[in-house]
């Protein structure tokens, strides 16, 4: 996976098929235009254990529109055709991968132009067979570390591929008003052990939070805040005359979240 160097990464997350397959492609393009460096494409799942209500609702909308894991992966090819060039990570729970077949999953992801995969309910200990496939297909399996990882950080960080995803605080995905004070220390600890960029996600929803985190990590993941924005724009996105304006509003919201990362470096 080719990541920009000397630049804080802005990594938005959206759910494939929310509110429709076509709109997901449009929203991906909008995010690229807004300065996204990597796109996390979420695959809707019936029982998303790591997700809060916002992403649960998005998944339910996408599933109601018959979105599936294979269709979500095929959306990557559509995005490429429409000009999305940034790396795309397939974010999916493990069970759909098992049903598709682990090898078929990697083959399909590679064929359709995805750049990596992230499985939030597959911890290091259970990831053996997938790591092998990830290497064979050249698609990094992105690892997560959490505030509870403690002595596990070194092991996970030293084996991390692509980038390393730090979970900001205890809990599931979703907008948080405050982030824990210990976050800076945690990120420092992770950075000490990691050879790949360290990004932080879960709960990041305002430009102020992004600004605060900018110097402590190599990038931020923003999910629920963007999905919430899509939820607010649902009707307009699906109305022919309003669609373009709604997409523009979404892009400008994404740009406002990325903006603090683009300001000149404060002294490090």
């Amino acid at each position: 996976m080719r990541l920009p160097v000397n630049r804080s990464l802005f990594i938005p997350f959206i759910v494939a098929g929310d509110p429709s397959a076509d709109l997901t492609v449009d929203l991906a393009l909008a995010l690229q235009d807004a300065g996204a460096d990597v796109l996390e494409l979420g695959v809707p799942y019936s029982d998303p254990l790591a997700d809060g209500p916002t992403i649960q609702r998005a998944a339910a909308r996408a599933l109601a529109g018959q979105m599936t894991l294979p269709k979500a992966i095929q959306l990557v090819a559509d995005m490429r055709k429409k000009g999305v060039k940034i790396p795309i990570i397939i974010f999916t729970y493990y069970n759909p991968v098992l049903q598709l077949g682990e090898e078929s999953f990697f083959a399909l992801a590679q064929e359709n132009g995805a750049d990596g995969v992230l499985i939030p309910d597959l911890p290091f200990e259970e990831s053996g067979p997938l790591l092998e496939l990830s290497e064979r297909f050249g698609l990094p399996l992105i690892s997560l570390v959490a505030p509870t990882s403690k002595q596990r950080i070194e092991q996970i960080a030293s084996a991390a591929q692509g980038f390393l995803y730090c979970v900001s605080s205890l809990g599931v995905t979703g907008v948080r008003e405050t982030l824990p004070e210990s976050l800076g220390h945690f990120l420092g600890e992770v950075k000490r052990h990691s050879r790949v960029p360290v990004v932080v996600g879960f709960g990041i929803s305002t430009p102020e939070q992004v600004a605060m985190l900018k110097d402590a990590c190599d990038g931020v993941v923003v999910g629920s805040a963007l999905v919430q924005k899509i939820e607010q724009l649902l009707e307009r996105l699906q109305t022919l005359e309003e669609k373009n304006a709604a997409i523009a509003e979404f892009a400008s919201y994404a740009r406002s979240l990325a903006a603090p990362l683009r300001e000149p470096c404060s002294s490090r």
Partner: protein, 404 residues
């Protein structure tokens, strides 16, 4: 048979820990403390003491003479888990896990519940040990089991309605796990069945095996031999594992009974082993009801306690090696067995346990009077009486026996 689970929490291909990274450390802490506790004689004694003096163990082994006579086949015995405090086997596990929580210095319990039996057990031990308790329950189940909701509140627990999915046990479990992810620093998650990530299936088995250990001793003392067949119902499967586990090495036929709902060839059932495929649910590799894309399918059963789309990984393993035979019983067969046991023996079983009774009746008929069948009567039917009234369409003043 190999020793299961292994150090990775695997029962053959099944089990394991498929959870978000945040939960790996809490699971490891529970595993370490559980192993210490199980090796600690004083922990064991305390557990047994509370079972005896608080829950009323040992529960009796009851011969069912009238049912036996009526069927004209094998002799039928009942292991009376219905006589436990709070009315079901669930309390065995709740006491064990509360003791472990106490040992770990945790004073706040999280539980999920379907029919409300585990929720009531959790709320009960929380009151007994002076702990806080938060119970997640699907909104639909809260409607179906209003009495148990009040019972939990009476015991001092907070009951949180779950609005996601079909608003039943699966969704309550999702929400309990999500809450645990956010509060794992000071809360203990008390799972109610032999499901979930390692070490839960093992832990719940260890706290439920008292059923089988007692039954074995009582049966040997009374009959001088072991039963020919043992039957237990399986939702997640904790009463069944508790009963079966001490008999796994013996020459005893073990039969697990899943809920066939309106029939396993309809979409409305909870027969996970019969109709499910391998996959991951609630942190464990097991059989589950899912579509071809790996989305979990909502199960159905008249019994809220069997209405679960997965099954304990140890059951998946025992099915895969052929040690336990898993069969299924429909709503209607269970309802008939519910009435039959009430009328022949004066014992109203939980609708869950009535599934085991139905299968045992069928098996006993085909056996000879010198053979024996042992049923795990996992709970009592008080909680189901109201539902059964509606189901049987009994009108005021009407004779119950003539209904339907």
């Amino acid at each position: 048979m190999e020793h299961v689970p292994n150090e990775h929490g695997r029962f053959g291909d099944f089990g394991g820990k498929f959870v978000p990274e945040t939960l790996m450390l809490p699971l490891e802490e529970i595993e370490t403390e559980l192993d210490k506790a199980l090796a600690d004689e004083s922990f064991r004694q305390e557990y047994i003491r509370i079972l005896q003096h608080y829950s009323g163990r040992p529960t009796p082994l009851t011969f069912a003479p009238n049912l036996t006579r009526q069927l004209g086949g094998a002799k039928i015995y009942l292991k009376r888990e219905d006589l436990n405090h709070t009315g079901a086997h669930k309390i065995n596990n709740a006491i064990g896990q509360a003791l472990l929580a106490k040992r770990m210095g945790k004073k706040k319990l999280i539980a999920e519940t379907g029919a409300g039996q585990h929720g009531v057990a959790a709320a009960t031990v929380a009151a007994h040990f002076g702990m806080e308790c938060i119970v997640f329950m699907g909104e639909e189940d809260m409607k179906r089991q209003e009495l148990n909701v009040f019972r939990m509140k009476l015991l001092g627990a907070e009951v949180v309605p779950v609005l996601s999915g079909n608003r039943t046990l699966k969704d309550a479990t999702n929400e309990a796990i999500r809450y645990w992810v956010a509060h794992c620093d000071d809360h203990f998650y008390m799972i109610g069945s032999v499901v979930g990530p390692h070490p839960y299936p093992k832990m719940v088995r260890e706290f439920q095996r008292v059923i089988g250990d007692e039954a074995k001793e009582q049966f040997l003392a009374g009959e001088g031999t072991l039963p020919d067949v043992i039957v237990a119902c399986v939702g997640g499967g904790s009463n069944a594992i508790g009963m079966f586990y001490p008999f796994l090495q013996d020459d005893v036929r073990l039969v697990g009974v899943e809920a066939a709902g309106k029939g396993i060839d309809t979409p409305h059932h909870a027969a996970t082993i019969a109709k499910g495929t391998k996959g991951v649910i609630h942190g464990a590799m097991t059989y589950l009801l899912q579509d071809e894309y790996g989305q979990i399918i909502e199960p159905y059963s008249i019994s809220a306690g069997l209405d679960y789309p997965g099954v304990g990984p140890e059951h998946a393993y025992l099915a895969s090696i052929g040690r336990v035979r898993y069969e299924s019983v429909t709503d209607e067969e269970a309802v008939a067995a519910f009435q039959l046991l009430a009328q022949t023996e004066g014992i109203i079983p939980a609708i869950e346990s009535a599934h085991a009774v139905a299968k045992a009746v069928e098996l006993a008929r085909q056996m000879t009077p010198d053979e024996t069948v042992l049923i795990c009567l996992s709970g009592r039917g008080d909680k189901d009486v109201q539902m059964m009234m509606h189901h049987l369409g009994v009108k005021e003043g009407e004779d119950v026996a003539s209904a339907r």
